[in-house]
């Protein structure tokens, strides 16, 4: 394990950024989101959750696929280049790292999404343990340990030092690149980190959502859950916006669109939300015609369909962003609890 004093972090970032792109939590107009490090960027490692999850380092909200260039009546097609440079995502939390695992299941399965795969190949994740978990967090429910994030490099911020532990080959390589700025950690340091982990875990135990039960939510629960009359109640306050989707670290749906540039067409993909009325719109219309169906889709996908197709893996990681951001205060926890309550009442 290594350590680096907090005040030397900007030197670390500068050094990383010399050889590769560096994404990390940056404060812009009072909000923290992952962004590219620049000398004048206001890095914010204290805010627990970025508004958007860092998934767009691997799966950008909008990315070009190819460009058609029109010359006279001839059309030339230029595919967009795949990611070829290495990059680092610094400061991801355990839940967000797990979110990338979920995306891997989707995009790295056959047929492989080459755009995503190229980014995964070139990206190194430096994760950070969650110093002070918050009441909206429920990663524990999904078996995630936010005290010990499983990434290429795991880090802890304790008493003015960042502790650094590489866990993979990529992590080793990055460590080597920045070794000049790192100090070796001694036993006392190890102890501090262990204490921090224990402190984090004890807080996690006290979080209001930590004891949420996922009983009954699995790949086999399809018809029972799908046909439940509860949905008719639950969806009602939903405004059909895409906030939950767009802040979510695991939502992976996208739309493919064309943009007329005047001298050709850019075909791009961009995040889409199953909450939107035009989601998966086809020539005949939409296969989900009501907001209830759309609302149900989101949770059925995360808690039933996804585990059904991915060996029981849920596509929710308990980051709690939707809990904090939903304009109508709806969220996946309320859905789970509502079903639980109904089960209890029976």
């Amino acid at each position: 394990m290594y350590k680096i004093a907090k005040e030397n972090l900007s030197a670390l970032f500068r050094l990383i950024a010399e050889s590769q792109e560096l994404y990390l939590p940056v404060r812009t107009a009072e909000q923290v989101n992952f962004g590219v490090w620049r000398e004048d960027a206001e890095v914010d490692l204290d805010t627990l959750k970025s508004v958007k999850s860092p998934k767009d380092a691997f799966f950008p909200q909008s990315e070009n696929l190819y460009t058609c260039i029109k010359e006279g009546k001839k059309i030339q097609i230029e595919p967009e280049a795949l990611k070829e440079q290495k990059f680092v995502v610094f400061g991801m939390k355990a839940c967000d790292v797990q979110g990338v695992q979920v995306l891997d299941k989707v995009f790295l399965a056959d047929p492989v999404d080459t755009f995503y795969a190229a980014r995964r190949d070139h990206g190194t994740i430096v994760a950070m343990a969650c110093h002070e978990p918050e009441e909206s967090c429920f990663c524990k429910v999904f078996g995630i340990d936010c005290a010990e994030p499983a990434a290429d490099v795991a880090t802890w911020m304790v008493e003015g030092n960042l502790y650094w532990k590489s866990l993979t080959e990529k992590g080793e390589a990055l460590t080597k690149d920045v070794e000049s700025l790192l100090e070796s950690a001694d036993d006392a340091d190890e102890k501090k980190v262990e204490d921090e982990k224990a402190a984090i875990r004890s807080i996690v135990e006290k979080l209001p959502y930590s004891n949420l039960s996922l009983e009954g939510w699995n790949g086999d629960a399809l018809s029972e859950k799908f046909d439940s009359p509860l949905w008719e109640e639950l969806y009602k306050p939903c405004l059909a916006c895409g906030t939950c989707t767009f802040v979510c670290p695991t939502c992976q749906c996208y739309d493919i669109k064309d943009y007329n540039t005047g001298h050709g067409v850019k075909r791009y993909r961009c995040w889409d939300s199953c909450m939107y009325s035009d989601f998966t719109m086809m020539a005949h219309g939409n296969n989900r015609t009501s907001q209830m169906q759309r609302y149900r889709q989101r949770f059925m996908h995360k808690l039933v369909y996804f585990p059904a197709n991915n060996d029981g893996m849920y596509s929710c990681v308990g980051c709690g962003r939707c809990v904090e951001k939903c304009p109508a205060s709806l969220n996946i926890v309320k859905v789970i609890k509502a079903f639980q309550k109904q089960g209890g009442d029976k």
């Binding site: 961009c270 995040w271 309320k334």
Partner: protein, 324 residues
Amino acid sequence: MQEVINRAKELLADGTVARVLGWKAGDLPYNPEPAYFESVESLEDFVYNGFCGANLSKYMIEASKLEGKTMVCLKPCDTYSFNQLIKEHRVDRDKAYIVGVGCKGKLDIEKIRKQGVKGIESIKGAEITDEADNLTIQTLYGEKTCSYADAMLERCHVCKGKEHKIYDEIIGESKDTKDADRFTEVARIEAMSPEEKFAFFQKELSKCIRCNACRNVCPACSCRKCVFDSNKFDSAQKANVDSFEEKMFHIIRAFHVAGRCTDCGECSRVCPQGIPLHLFNRKFIKDINEFYGDFQAGEDTEARGPLTDFTFDDVEPGIVGERG
């Protein structure tokens, strides 16, 4: 709150209304959700406290299609939206039994968090009956206090007043929480150089994720299908491209609600990225007031909107340059 519940029970029991539209207690101290209550028993979950910021007027569009009347709880500022929706034939007055609920300013959890409060377990002082000037917040990391006023939504600092503009009955006291001028920020931006203005909005709008929360919560954005979701203008775009798109979306959205926006502040309340979206709407309101005379959308259900009206000697568009 109990008074509202009692009244709701009566109205449900005597068949005056078929349902009650209010708020249901959340699972955290600050997240009550808009909810329908169809039985006297279900009302035990009913809650009305400082976190019930949601403007329920818009829900009445759908509720107007249902059988029977809906008792809807509206705060003073929500009634402006309701009037505007009546004017636009989007809600049915006869389908609503409006209970004007008292309001002493609504709370913004983001403002509380900004003060370094995290790990919230409970919040005291947010009840509508509480007279406390401070919120006492129990957190996993110790007890915190925070003044009620500092935790209020931006819109409450520019409160339109404690008067309900439309109601069947009023329950509870309201307080005018205005302590700022709503155009101060707009005027501050107006005074900037074009470069500064551009930089300001570029920075704010670069955060936009096109989640449409602002639009979907907006009582003026009541279109069945938004132009940004239809192919009528080739404007259906979801991309978040850091150049023109968000500007197009926000300018057109503000334009479409110009003269109709009651300045209810819901857009800014719900923006997950904290973009001060009201600055667009208020710019139009300020201009309308200056150019065509003071106008408050939703003040009544009759007045002609400023963009569907004119006078022979209106100012010319050139005024924009002349004002400097």
